[in-house]
Amino acid sequence: MSKLATMRDAVAELVRDGDTVAIEGFTHLICFAAGHEIIRQRRRDLTLARMTPDVIYDQMVGAGVARKLIFSWLGNPGVGSLHAVRRRIEHADPEPLEIEEYSHFGMVCRYVAGASNLPFFPIRSYFESDIPSVNPNIKPMRSPYEGDDEVYVVPPLRPDVTIVHAQRATAQGDAQIWGLLGCQKEAAFAAERVIVVCEEIVDEDVVRRDPNRTAIPGVVVDAVVEEPFACHPSYAQGYYDRDNAFYLDWERISKDPDACAGWIDEWVYGLENHTEYVERMGERWEALRPGERLSGQVNYGDYS
């Protein structure tokens, strides 16, 4: 059964006010277009979860869709700060933002616990750190087997909606990813509802020829959106490069609340959809196109 939808319909149907939303992707495959559509549809009171909130959550927080952030590293990677987020945390400007923070491994294991139907996940992190003192969800626990072996446990994270981007997917939602894998698979399996966005819709045969590359099977997917360049200024390995100049520019834009609001007006509210965003970016795409570096082929074998 085809689950193809437009971004507008997928967000309208599957992302609701008050939801916990995870748009995952570690630097790679961050679906900015989905975040923009959530802003455009003026969702409110969302709890936004991501290991690294990145510029997309700075934009969403700046646009007022979120009341809470769950994260492990809060910055503009390689550049500096997320100023819209910082204004709300440091000055409650224009309103407070609740935060709940973990370490990277803690966040990953929250998704793993959520995806595996476990009540908690044990890790050897947080010893002699002040993090558990500001996050009571991180608790010490003694091993039931070796009593003097202490670990910390983190609770499962089960987003209402996870949105992941993939290089390619079938209309049924079988999604194939290469390059950095982040925790998209874990975040998708942990979620109640899943939207897969992709650069290209492909025939089922393409997926079946290379099943090792499938990160997320359609069985856990609710909607599939074909949206080329949906990750800009993040990237899709082999399709377009990370737009580092944009990340550097965002430092200046997000520092100034008016410039930040102006950017959202121009590039989100001012556009109907991501197709218009792609057209408006114009010749920028040419500079972001990588050279070719093909993988070899493997023989899966024919056993008929």
Partner: protein, 262 residues
């Protein structure tokens, strides 16, 4: 508070001095957890000089990276192309880091104390911070599991502090018996390289100890940029300048545009 700084030495920048000095501390290491910015250049320089067999591991989920360009972010696509393995982040943190495969890792922070504890979370109080910093990322677990921690950061009295505003990542406790009883695979910070000098950690107390001053830097420069009375090695030396070969590799191969080194 004085923040007097020595005049720069001719022929190389402060960052180039820090990079060269740090790369030498990686001599003979096999597997290193790399950060972006200076640590990335340090590790790539070490791979070409002091540690030819060095495998570069990035927290984004890459083992054995061979970056063809200077990555701005920790998740640059150049880290993937040509690497030995791409892993999920769960695998990277569980099987590589937590299981104890990582020999050395770089950390830095907004604040460090004399025992190498690091703050990357907040300046001021947690509930109403003066400055909200990025937080842990993987730092608090890297600090526990990597066999040794190498710190590279600029030195100033406001960052080298008597007391951290928040302890994100643990260093030494000041009590050697306690440190030995922790049962961690890591032994904590073993070296700090700043723009003023290089430090080790005292084997008895775990206290940061000034080992060498960079050329042109005086002990008074260090004192005026440290928030406590720094311990100084009885055999205080001078850091060897960056060699011509180190500078050539940095300038022509690793950072030709001078993004991180100027």
């Amino acid at each position: 508070m004085s923040s007097a700084r020595p005049a720069p030495e001719p022929g190389y920048t402060k960052n180039e001095m820090m990079i060269a000095a740090s790369a030498r501390t990686l001599a003979g290491e096999r597997i290193c957890f790399v950060g972006v910015g200076l640590p990335n250049i340090v590790c790539n320089l070490a791979q070409r000089t002091s540690a030819p067999g060095l495998q570069l591991v990035y927290e984004a989920g890459v083992f054995g990276a061979r970056p063809a360009r200077l990555p701005l972010s920790i998740g640059d696509p150049t880290l993937v192309s040509g690497s030995t393995a791409v892993t999920s982040m769960f695998e990277l943190f569980a099987f590589y880091l937590q299981a104890g495969l990582i020999d050395a890792a770089f950390l830095g922070g907004a604040q460090i104390d004399r025992f190498g504890n690091l703050n990357t979370t907040v300046i001021g109080s947690y509930a109403s911070p003066k400055v909200r910093l990025p937080g842990s990322g993987g730092a608090c677990e890297i600090a526990i599991h990597a066999r040794r921690i190498l710190v590279i950061m600029r030195q100033a009295a406001r960052s080298f502090v008597e007391r951290l505003d928040f302890r994100t990542s643990p260093g030494h406790s000041g009590d050697l018996a306690h440190d030995r009883s922790r049962g961690w695979s890591g032994s904590g910070p073993t070296s700090v390289v700043t723009d003023l000098g290089t430090y080790g950690f005292d084997e008895e107390t775990g206290e940061m100890t000034l080992l060498t001053l960079h050329p042109g830097v005086s002990i008074d420069d260090v004192r005026s940029n440290t928030g406590w009375d720094p311990k100084v090695s009885g055999e205080l030396g001078e850091t060897p300048r960056p060699s011509d070969e180190e500078l050539r590799i940095i300038r022509t191969e690793l950072d030709p545009e001078g993004v991180a080194t100027s």
